[in-house]
């Protein structure tokens, strides 16, 4: 790890001012940043510890029914907040399907949004990586790439965004509140993470020095509370990143779906909203045929970036399965194995 200056600003204004110096990085819990600094992938010369900033640690319910989650709220505190979990159960399930209990106790909401890809070539300084070192190439293209992107990738980068949390958030139209040198602004979460194109080093649409203050979930998301799921296929049942995942939400009235929300994780450099698939379900009966069609549409632009054509099939299946489980109703209690496509329906025990 390189040496760095450490500052602990007392206000958002001071933090933003400090971050305008080149080489600066914001530090929250550090569960991703410190790891990347230890392996030399990230080498900021100035660390701005934001954990003592006031007012960023609260879950606030606004008058219109929307919720504002402070940037420093810990993943576990949000997932276990009773009102939040009741109102946005697929978000709670996604949070509890990610990382480990220790990491969830530390990791923050804004840190989750800002975490970097887990592409092995990004993390290996001996490999070419356009995201880490612009213009150096992409060793993932011809390498071990079975877990890489199938949507929105480019010849320059095929990495995926690893977050679970962001997947239901983007499905529910989350908005990111930021403050920067030029004042405050809102960014739709769907517009926060950038697709690689020719400049994969530009990972987000944040401007230099901008700091995330919180995430807002609109009240409308709450109408889906009784029919929503997050499902995640992993190579281990726990403590693993998604191969593919899906967050879905259905508004069902009578025999028909009034509206639907669908987003995919593990497939692209951003949480992937599938709007065309959503539209196909409007006014449709919640049948296996309708779900299969939606799943087909959600992956219609997908193409393998390497040895990962299987992910397209898996992603279709996880969308259809998530829609089926959502139709059957959000589980009353958090499943013992959150987001596992196996446990809830089949009663499978994975150990013991």
């Amino acid at each position: 790890m390189n040496r760095f200056d450490y500052v602990q600003p007392k206000s958002v204004k001071d933090a933003v001012a400090a971050a305008c110096a080149p080489g600066s990085a914001y530090l929250a819990a550090g569960t991703n940043l410190l790891d990347l600094m230890k392996i030399g992938v990230s080498s900021p010369t100035r660390i701005i510890d934001i954990t003592r900033l006031p007012g960023l640690n609260e879950i606030s319910w606004l008058a219109d029914g929307s919720v504002r989650i402070g940037a420093l709220v810990r993943n576990s505190d949000l997932a276990y907040d009773a009102r939040f979990a009741r109102t946005f159960p697929s978000v709670a399930e996604a949070l509890l399907s990610g990382a480990s209990a220790q990491l969830r106790n530390a990791a923050t909401v804004s840190g989750n949004l800002m975490q970097r890809t887990r592409c092995a070539y990004f993390q290996d300084l001996a490999s070419a990586c356009n995201r880490r070192q612009p213009g150096s190439g992409c060793d993932a293209r011809g390498g071990e790439n079975r877990l890489h992107a199938v949507l929105g990738w480019s010849e320059h980068c095929i990495a995926t965004h690893p977050s679970d949390f962001c997947v239901p958030l983007v499905a529910l139209d989350a908005v990111v509140e930021v403050e920067g040198p030029n004042g405050a602004r809102d960014i739709a979460l769907d517009a926060l993470h950038a697709l690689p194109g020719a400049a994969p080093e530009r990972e987000t649409t944040l401007h230099p020095g901008e700091l995330i203050l919180g995430v807002r979930l609109p009240a409308r998301g709450a109408i889906y509370a009784s029919n929503t799921r997050y499902l995640k296929l992993r190579e281990r049942t726990s403590y693993a990143f998604a191969i593919v995942s899906a967050a879905v939400a259905l508004e069902i009235s009578g025999d028909a779906i009034r509206s639907a929300r669908i987003a995919l994780g593990g497939v692209a450099a951003k949480p992937w909203r599938a709007r065309e698939a959503e539209t196909s379900l409007e006014n449709a009966a919640p049948t296996p045929e309708a779900f299969a069609k939606a799943a087909e549409l959600a992956l219609s632009d997908a193409r393998p970036s390497g040895d990962n054509a299987f992910k397209i099939t898996l992603a279709r299946k996880i969308v259809a399965r998530a829609l089926t489980l959502a139709r059957d109703g959000t589980p009353k209690d958090m499943p013992a194995l959150p987001a596992s496509p196996f446990s809830a329906t089949l009663g499978i025990s994975h150990a013991g």
């Binding site: 790890m1 040496r3 760095f4 200056d5 450490y6 602990q8 530090l27 819990a29 550090g30 569960t31 410190l34 790891d35 230890k38 392996i39 660390i47 510890d49 954990t51 576990s76 276990y80 990382a99 480990s100 209990a101 220790q102 990491l103 106790n105 530390a106 049942t237 726990s238 403590y239 013992a336 194995l337 959150p338 446990s343 025990s349 994975h350 150990a351 013991g352």
Partner: protein
């Protein structure tokens, strides 16, 4: 640049001058305070051997900067027992053979203490396994570990009831 932080560790207040902000909580404990119970396994937050409680929450001490902990309370494996009387989780790990080589054990025990305090597992072994997944045991003592956590939780519950009576 020197940073001064005050951290309470196992009930004892330490005034610490850090000459380097890179020091993690794990390195502070092991290298500067001779508390070598928390182990450095992967040093990347993947194995859980470094698990300690910070302000009563279990975290990976290898991914926590000591400089950020001014005013915090830290509990390590060394702070669990009362004199010669083992903490119920320690006793249960012995009773259920919840280890073989022992390297991961301090982290397992601190994680189990955190898990029981969080109170989300109930008596469901599946939930306990899920909530202990951040602690790897390469000897594969998971069966004993799960039983130990279940048993310690029960013992603590009964103990609490006795305290109340």
């Amino acid at each position: 640049m020197s940073l001064s932080v005050g951290i309470t560790i196992n009930g004892e207040r330490h005034a610490i001058d850090l000459d380097d902000p890179r020091v993690t909580l794990l390195d502070l404990l092991r290298e500067r305070l001779a508390l070598t119970g928390a182990k450095k396994g992967c040093d990347r937050g993947q194995c859980g051997a470094c698990t300690v409680l910070v302000d009563a929450r279990r975290v990976n001490s290898c991914l926590t900067l000591a400089a950020s902990l001014d005013g915090s309370e830290v509990t390590t494996i060394e702070g669990l027992a009362s004199g010669d009387v083992l903490h119920p989780v320690q006793a249960a790990f012995i009773a259920h053979d919840g280890f073989q080589c022992g390297f991961c054990t301090p982290g397992q025990i601190m994680s189990a203490v955190g898990l029981i305090a969080e109170g989300h597992a109930g008596d469901d072994p599946e939930r306990i396994r899920e909530l202990m997944s951040g602690n790897l045991c390469r000897c594969g003592a998971y069966k004993g570990i799960t039983e130990a956590v279940l048993d310690a939780q029960k013992a603590q519950r009964t103990g609490n009831r006795k305290d109340m009576a």
